[in-house]
Symmetry: D3
Subunit: 157 residues, 6 copies
């Protein structure tokens, strides 16, 4: 297991010190899926949802969430995001959400990308739960990450 000279031997909860890290361009892409029934797919494709345009609302929700990450995930640092983009692709009964976040700073943005993905998918769930109560949010994960000392990451197929 990776060791760290930051380990507090008393088990204290802490926000790790990043002041010595260098400022670099940071980018992360996360992906996640929600499985729904065919009525949900029709409702979305035909923009028939009684609460409005499901995917547009979910994109707004995801973007807002990305900016709010440090309030919800306790030990993350505050980051000024430079770009957030959320895309949806529908394959059969899966709605696949991809979220790309870009920033510059001393720490990465993968948690922001993952959080935006989770919130965008849950917003779809919320807006479609009157149609289908068996939806499942699955496989939320990091696709790639760039910038920072720990090196780039690209998920293998």
């Amino acid at each position: 297991m990776k060791k760290s000279n930051h380990i507090d031997q008393y088990g204290n909860v802490r926000m790790v010190n990043i002041s010595e890290k260098s400022v670099t361009l940071r980018k992360a892409v996360a992906i996640g899926t929600i499985s729904v029934n065919s009525d949900v797919i029709s409702s979305i494709n035909n923009k028939l949802n009684k609460k409005g345009d499901v995917l547009a609302v979910s994109q707004v929700a995801g973007i807002q969430a990305a900016k709010n990450t440090s309030s919800l995930i306790p030990l993350t640092h505050q980051i000024l995001l430079k770009s957030v983009t959320i895309n949806f692709e529908i394959i059969d009964l899966d709605i696949i959400c991809t979220c790309e976040v870009i920033s510059e700073g001393k720490t990465g943005v993968e948690i922001e990308a993952l959080f935006a993905t989770e919130v965008a998918l849950l917003t779809i769930y919320d807006m479609c739960k009157y149609i289908d109560r068996n939806m499942i949010i699955k496989e939320v994960k990091l696709l790639m990450k760039k910038g920072g000392k720990s090196g780039d990451f690209k998920r293998e197929k």
Copy 2:
């Protein structure tokens, strides 16, 4: 597909009117899993994580998230939660999170339970990402739901 006399034929985004609904006891249980490597499991079991006690922090994060649901998921109603409980179970390389939310009111609490689950799992991810970057959050879903006009729900095995 379920019809609704609330449908706005102009496709407007709206927060559906719940003022006519009756106040009942509401309960929802959500479940979700994060798959991690064995170093993460050891780190959690031995409370060695450099940021502190992973599961305790994740419980706090999930509880706080449940209370904040209506700020993050755009069309949800504000609800005063009466109880939030988050439990973790570790089975092999899976950390399984179960979240139960109780309220009284005119609308259900399944989104609150699902959101708390998502945030608790992502907090584990955040605190352990320096150990494992291949973690996957998977199968976030509703287990059961009680109270309200649309009837009880219990996921079939």
Copy 3:
């Protein structure tokens, strides 16, 4: 000028006590307008805006704002909203926003309706400012209000 036995003779800022008031159905409708140039109107009508569907995003923003009123307007009470609806009408170079808010409780919802209107209009401004920098938000006002001891209100033409 209306007198009040709540007046604090020392000029203290306070959140007025509403615990003696009775719970009634509350409804308020606010209206406001943003004047834009014809390029903005075309961009909205043709959904060409580079940031997405302007009116859908503005509706989401207004709804979220309504729920957040008590965090932004210091002396307002927290209220659980039962319904928020935002509609837009385009007349020549004016985009007119109408917002209806419904609640049940001990205090009215006109500030919520007005705040949602302000935020929806400013979101239009934000999304269109790259097209027109001379936009003006004008005539944000209460149209009607129902429920509560102070009596109903309906703005005269």
Copy 4:
């Protein structure tokens, strides 16, 4: 109409990428007015309002709002503000609010100045609504803007 190579041909909602922009000093001044009756003017001038000093509370509300802009206006970027100043001038039955915001960064601060103005005026409304229910918030607009690639702006008389 202004073209943009950022246009997403699928109409996706996005937070535009500003990471390529340069950091400059940014300044924006917004102005707005609330029209009230003479009882409101007396109440403010004599600091008789039952909730406290109306203009001081409204200044605090406006400053807090400026800092919170990116949580309320969905596609705005997070900005660290360096200065927020709010002034009021009373001319007959109009209370005129001017708000100046200064920052350094990759994006402008006009939305922050406009939002602070809207919130300061609505706080006056909230604190005076027990005296006058016909108040109107009108002519909220940008007066000037400095810094950034799109050039300076000064509203013509």
Copy 5:
């Protein structure tokens, strides 16, 4: 030590279930003091502070804090406050803050009163720190509490 049948033998963090409790009028009064030097006292009494009227801003800050308690203190329940009043008294070099909070509900409001007191005192500190860096916030405590099953409380002299 008080026993509780709610004790979770696994040490889980939880938001205790209050759904069985009855709704009663709740009131709590907290008190706290900040000790400052004589320049601070003069600055406040003569309203000379370079940031504005110190006590008015601190009252607004305290009221806003009371409404936000459940976001900051993790295991508190959300409560709709009916009244928040903050008063200051200056005795020699002590500024004494008293905060009364009233609500109706299933849980008490002492944490809200204490939190508002802490924030009001810290706002004084923030606005006066350019004058005195030795200020101390001291003796923040509950004065009285009414309503609820655990009985009334009144601090003995």
Copy 6:
């Protein structure tokens, strides 16, 4: 009393302009104490609290509060914190909280350190109030501060 060329002779509330200040490493350490009875000490030492591990939850609460300072303390600037560490020491019936905050920027972080201390102590209070209602939060103060034009500060014994 310290003079300032920033003084607004009209007594306006303002967020002081820091755009001319230079960026330096900032550090502040605050300390505070809560006095409790011996049952509280046993409950904490034996991790018997019915709501969970008191000190871990309080650390999370303090860290979250530090990041939220500018939303609660009205005239503080937004700051991106680089590190937050909270430690507890138990001496007899006193639980002593020390909080260190590090940042880089144009303004100091003492308010962040003090606010985190206040919130951590109040979280202990909240989680232990069912055991002891006479707890007192006392002596919250700045221990040291480094960086910035006004010079370093170290509290004398």
